[in-house]
Point group: D3
Chain length 288, copies 6
């Protein structure tokens, strides 16, 4: 179970509110590379973890719990950027409506409105669990396969796309407070990339963990084609690289090249059943 | 651009159609671990690839094109499993409706109907781009970040969850034809896991590729916390592992442990603006 | 604006409630071929119709309004099928829970539960705007292009898939009351297919309406390839048909066959910008 | 920021694992009436709360944090119900595959498979953030309007539908451990219904809080129709009730009845623009 | 069943078309606080209503039918705002494309395009069932629980967020015609808030209706914790209010405060099954 | 199975990159009228095709394969439009971040950012499988009914809305390269509209193909109402047209007009079951 402290994990300060940047930050909340995703992914991996020891369940809970605090920081940052001014100065905003209030002097009203549509209309200028285009986060992005190695790579993928996003936001930020918040979150993403790869390494690295799942006997897979790079170009050309020759990454095979060709025949589903509500012409071989 | 051959990449044969297994196969078509996902992910990564040489664009096109053939094989397998019998024998199915026709003798009609609802009603017993619960595939699962290392880990993640799924389907399969098709697809997943990790290795491995993106100067991130395992347990306990001490995976830091605590203060958004359509009580400091 | 009458457009009677059939009927409510779709599609086409006369707006309103009554009939049918018995007999259902109550004597409890999960848990045994797999209807399926001919074909498509679905449900139905309700709805689908094609005919048929939109001057399109069947097979083979030779349907061209080949070159996006948070290796032509 | 304790808020024990019940429990995790919803709704309401005092922000954080623990309990319950047996006995399950393993002796394999499709194939038998039909939770269900009274009613709605669901699950449960867990969660839903209504009462109840938002001057709304029950029946009949006469709930008006009729004219959008890619016939008044 | 009148429920006039405002109005059509939602919610509640008398079914039908007319008014308003000018003046729009046509003189073309993307490209400048960010309405937002009290609170929540939205739109509107239309719709939202609360009152108010469902015997819920405010702050602090002491809203209990602590133990799912396609290391207690 | 050629089907050139136009092109990739849709629709129709001969399966494969190349062209066009300049000139862009780089001199930074949010943050300036509002393509739009005539009309609908979209994009394009690419794609849409209608004609046209499915015996449908135009206006007025009198399109009936009226009674679902967790008042006929 869980506890909270009212204070934030790290300071979130905004000197000059910027509604357009608020919308960009939404990608880090409700985007597929965002913090709701990693938070929920680590929780569901932890809660469903089956293993001889609770070690990985425990580790996942630490990081999942940390991530709630990251969503909180970003949500605070969005609200502050949608605000005209720091709290104590709000009263002096002379605008006659919330719509007018979010514009700086030089920006045309209808433009800013357009950039923050849903945050403006649905929340009274606060964060939402949506991405920078206003698309709600969909929980199908929570990958938790029950296989610890597959999950660790899913987590590396999440933290890699997450850190790429965070650095793009850092580059786009103008406000020092925002840069500072992001420089902390980028550091945490660095650690989390490391952390999930450390699990793979602790378990033995590629040599023992690949192919994932390592519990499926490799004799049962097609041993003729399991280390082949398949070429589908019309003229048979292909780019040479680490994946076309030499030992495989897991050390169990040798990379080779195979020019793809049909090993199967043309599929035949045959005529439609008379009772299947196809057209009559689909059911009778003589009529077409 | 693209070409096709009417024949399948690998034989797809079904001796005893099994509608329940057809529905399970749907997960490998339209599930988030499925083949539409990897096919489209590799295509969008290829089409958006920016690099000094077209090498990775090319490689991605080979594998993306291969994957169309995998969707095709699975779609064929679903249709055959939804079929009562091979085409030439269909006429003797005595059922008076398509609904009756998909049941084996020993299976109650309404059960099978329930298991394959949408395939039964919407397609005339063919495959759909949905998962095993009938949920349509959503293209937000196509990860293509523009960062080659992030994308490669996304692909490893995709092929790892994909091979876990394929082996579970293999275990669930009874039909020899289905086992054979899957033993081929499992082998291809093995290669694809290897292939994406080979790119990381070719580029220099963790030492040069981490943290992702490696184009963001690490001086700009919070160097105090970028190799810290953050502990959020109430009592400060944590699981020791490769991630709590020793050199980091990228060789640039040392793992340490940090007991999480609020470094920021309590956020203050202040009273709501009078024009924001909050309740009056939210806008006036004296009234609450 | 709109009015209602408490009575149904057509009688809906269920002698033997069948929860499994209730779930199948959900496809006709919230499936992509269902009645919510056509109802909302015709409304949005009407409300957005721009034309010299209000004629088509008016016609669309008649049919859209009719369709509300179809959703109502189906929703009533679902509720009745989820019911153990007619209202007056309910009290004697001896089951100790709603879950027990929906099972007939011969059917295992957990099976029926599984078939109607969400209707059981979320509605107290009533209809929902979801399909037969429990997937909620998504309003992106409302096609209203602002082009009357495009919209009419969208409507023919909707009524064609709708009638295919309705006839499959008819075949699956056992209850006479359900067959009767469906025999009425199937007839309405017949008329609606005719009705939308009648508009095309009234406007002049293929000769004047194709290609859609007919307001785009055909000189501006690539006149070399606008009546070509493109062949993409590796060996150049293709199926001959009405579409490979002879006059085109709109009478403005002659069908011909073109063997597809790359008319464009290889796309070059070049190296990634240094500031785009790609990997360093993507930005420097000398390093890869 | 947040902390965790590895232990659960309340005991979760399962004597006889029941995969079908596991799927029903999914509705309480990822259904629109489920715990992810309330958890995230209270968090986003707290994080975006604007008010003279932090009181309601604080209160919301307590309950949001409590709700994470509820998701955790339910996720644990799903995993245990998908399990054949307590951990120590697992080895003796003689099944040759995970698919076989989840069946009790008397249940046909393909039925159980069908009921738990995605949990079986995607997670290795654990909980997912999906509902009982396998539909992923969509974050658009997080209602946080920035208006405290509107939000409190959203929360009452959430806890009302939530408790209805929990009691249906209680009725469907056979296992004593599951009944016990649910009897705790039902009690918490009771409190939460009370808690949100207590806020309305503390703020002054209907007399000061309605209509919501109370910051919009009622003079600006149409005072002729703001307490009218509109009748749309063809014959003008309507059901009498508390809403057709007597003082309004907020004490500011008197309920009356108004027979609905068109107060506006027929809308005229006119002909389509020549450049809008409608059909030619839509643009020229003389041609239709 | 249903009837229509071509005229609108209330006048919809636009003097100066404003494409940016058109997009904001979309939130009131296809947003989660919008009119499609309430219309369909009341219909599904009506069609599934089970009660000794048809009274509430009837009442719901009146208001659901009214709401179709509201969607119609808003759709008309969107189309008029996307139009350059009143119908009779359209011909003189000198723009060479629909894209140019929607811009006023002072507005840069690409900005307006960006604000109304999908309405511009998909509809020929008409309304769509999407929100102000272009996200299609998802029918999972139709709450109809089968419990009249839960449904009434869902309706109050819908009309509260709906009226908050409508007043924000009113504040953002510049055109007098739009203000007039909204002042009518705001008034109707006032009535609808009242109407649903009137049902709760007619049924006996909180004293008899809470906790919802009131048909679940409260003896079966955990009576130790059903009126406790749970405190999750690390230091045990909490905000005092109406919910921490005094009689509960339903008059059946006394509010108290409970400091949350784990009443359950650490969950143990144990090692993964050998056949579950976890990694080998997850299945063998001796290897990790 | 499938092959590729690195070159494009048709040249894609951009002289002056325009980020706003890039976003509009997204509608043609991931919009419901876009190329992913037709590509996948034709594939699933082909893969599930049941007929006496493989003719239509074959034809569909040719066109589906062609469409992959169309997505590729559009994805290339999006990437080029998001680019500041041709590859060789990129280095001289003086902007200090990718965000700055996509602005032309005269355009305010935050505006352009707002128009291309997700492409900017998630992809490093490449195409995504989303529409022009950033909404991901949802695979429920793949219509493949198993009925060849229904499918052909679905395809005509797809190509009609697709060509309407393409011509709107053509009108909005300023760059000659973009106009050229689109003039090719518009031509292909012309052919594809023809092609699917040619199938209907080859099968016999309306006379044999309607009503769809033509395998359902028309005697089983309600012959009283299958060619009636139903009038729902309050005053009985209706627009006369090809659909109100004269022979039906299929030649099997005569169009007539029927004034809609309730043929069914008022539905009675009766009181709620005591065990259904409705309110007590819903279960007892004497209490309300």
């Amino acid at each position: 179970m869980y506890y909270h402290d009212k204070r934030l994990q790290y300071p979130v300060q905004v000197s000059e509110p910027d509604p357009a940047f608020a919308r960009m930050l939404q990608q880090a909340i409700g985007g597929v590379e965002g913090e709701i995703r990693v938070c929920m992914q680590y929780f569901f991996q932890a809660w469903g973890n089956r293993a001889p020891t609770p070690k990985y369940r425990d580790m996942l809970l630490h990081t999942a719990t940390e991530e709630i605090g990251h969503i909180e920081m970003l949500a605070t940052a969005v609200a502050l950027n949608l605000d005209k001014a720091p709290a104590s100065l709000q009263a002096e905003g002379a605008a006659d409506s919330i719509v007018g209030a979010v514009m700086g002097g030089e920006r045309p009203r209808h433009i800013i409105e357009g950039l923050i549509h849903k945050n403006l209309l649905s929340t009274g200028l606060a964060a939402m669990p949506v991405d920078s285009d206003g698309v709600p986060f969909n929980m199908s992005h929570i990958y938790a396969s029950g296989n610890i190695a597959a999950d660790m790579y899913c987590n590396v993928a999440a933290e890699s796309t997450g850190r790429v996003l965070a650095t793009r936001l850092y580059n786009a930020a103008r406000d020092e407070g925002m840069k500072k918040m992001l420089h902390f979150m980028i550091a945490r993403d660095t650690m989390h990339q490391e952390q999930w790869l450390a699990v793979i390494e602790e378990l033995g690295g590629a040599a023992t963990q690949l192919p994932i799942p390592n519990s499926f006997p490799q004799e049962k897979e097609d041993q003729e084609h399991n280390y082949d790079f398949f070429v589908t170009s019309l003229d048979g050309s292909y780019p040479e690289g680490r994946w076309t020759s030499g030992p495989s990454i897991d050390g169990r095979g040798e990379f080779t090249v195979f020019r793809n060709e049909p090993l199967g025949g043309e599929p035949e589903l045959g005529a439609a059943r008379p009772d299947g509500m196809a057209q009559v012409e689909q059911t009778d071989a003589t009529s077409v």
